[in-house]
């Protein structure tokens, strides 16, 4: 007797029955105005710093980003919207910051930049800004399938002393209030962001670590496999939504 077993993967929508919405929609008029006007947006400094770093030669090869990639406004168009990717040669996931460091180490023979450091954030903000207004293009493929499933599993898994999963707040209760603040659907459409709470520009991984601290879980390390898997899942979940980088958030 032959037995046929079928495995069905269930993918959860952002919020049951609701339209996907960027957290931009939840902000006050003043904060929206700050994001919309580059002359008011404090993340503009990061974009300008990144623009300067793009031209700066580095490493033993004494090359700049521009040496290989030329004008970022053409070569980097759509690039940020396609990350994270599974790098089959490396055998691991890579996000935009990771890719910048891979380029530095491999093609410039320079030391990688520390996660959340000003130069790395400036470069990733500058590169991501070249995808502003473009849809996120992260799709499921053979290479990233395992990582995507792992990311989805993490999103739905209860964690920390408060024993909450990402999904419980951001999928089931998006739009409701937590400590007086509206809960967003958690789509990474504006990263890197200038967060008013940080008074600085920060990456998605920084924000994810804050969430984990918020449920009183030990936050995964910057650059860890788990944070990359979550980034991949969140980007896939937000596929088709437009990038707003550089964003301002409360």
């Amino acid at each position: 007797m032959s037995v046929v077993v079928s495995v069905v993967t269930v993918s959860r929508a952002a919020s049951p029955g609701a339209e996907r919405q960027s957290s931009y929609a939840l902000m006050s008029a003043d904060t929206k105005a700050m994001q919309d006007d580059p002359l008011l947006n404090p993340a503009t400094f990061a974009v300008l710093d990144g623009q300067a770093l793009w031209q700066e030669s580095a490493g033993k090869k004494n090359r700049s980003c521009a040496t290989c990639h030329g004008d970022a406004s053409t070569s980097m168009k759509g690039v940020a919207a396609s990350f994270p990717k599974f790098n089959s040669a490396k055998g691991s996931l890579v996000n935009l910051e990771g890719q910048i460091n891979d380029c530095r180490v491999t093609h410039q023979e320079a030391a990688p930049l520390a996660f959340e450091s000003k130069p790395l954030l400036s470069l990733s903000t500058f590169v991501a800004t070249q995808s502003k207004g473009m849809p996120i293009t992260v799709e499921r493929n053979a290479a990233n399938a395992t990582s995507l499933d792992a990311g989805q599993h993490l999103f739905n898994q209860r964690m920390g002393q408060l024993n909450l999963s990402c999904a419980q707040c951001h999928a089931e209760r998006a739009g409701q209030k937590l400590a007086g603040n509206p809960i967003p659907q958690a789509h990474p459409t504006a990263y890197p962001i200038y967060r008013l709470e940080w008074q600085a520009v920060g990456s998605l991984q920084r924000r994810l670590r804050n969430c984990l601290t918020g449920v009183r879980a030990e936050p995964y390390a910057l650059g860890s496999k788990e944070l990359l898997e979550l980034e991949l899942f969140l980007a896939w979940r937000a596929r088709g939504m437009l990038l707003e980088t550089p964003g301002v958030r409360p």
Partner: protein, 99 residues
């Protein structure tokens, strides 16, 4: 700010500077106080005449944005200067044509 104006017109000037504005009230994880390091003064000088001044205090957050207005009287240069703790000094300027 606009680069041209009619005589007597009110100009709105928006200016933002990149500065961490360390308040002096924060502590490190080991309990050391992080010393104050803020911008103390901002002034706008229009053709050599001071038209606007701000005294900043630790309550001002990082990357302070200042929006103010002045009256366009004559063509010339508006200079913007910041000074602060630990010898911080920065300046920029903008030309204005008044008709």
């Amino acid at each position: 700010m606009p680069t041209t104006a009619k005589k007597g017109e009110i100009l709105e000037i928006r200016i933002i500077v990149q500065h961490d504005m360390e308040s002096g009230f924060r502590h490190t994880e080991t309990g050391q106080r992080v010393p104050r390091d803020i911008i103390r003064d901002f002034l706008c000088v229009y053709n050599g005449v001071e038209v606007f001044r701000v005294e900043l205090h630790p309550a001002m957050g990082a990357n302070p944005l200042i929006i103010f207005s002045t009256v366009a009287t004559e063509s010339g240069t508006l200079e913007f200067k910041w000074s602060g703790d630990n010898g911080y000094a920065s300046s920029t300027s903008s030309k204005l044509t008044v008709t």
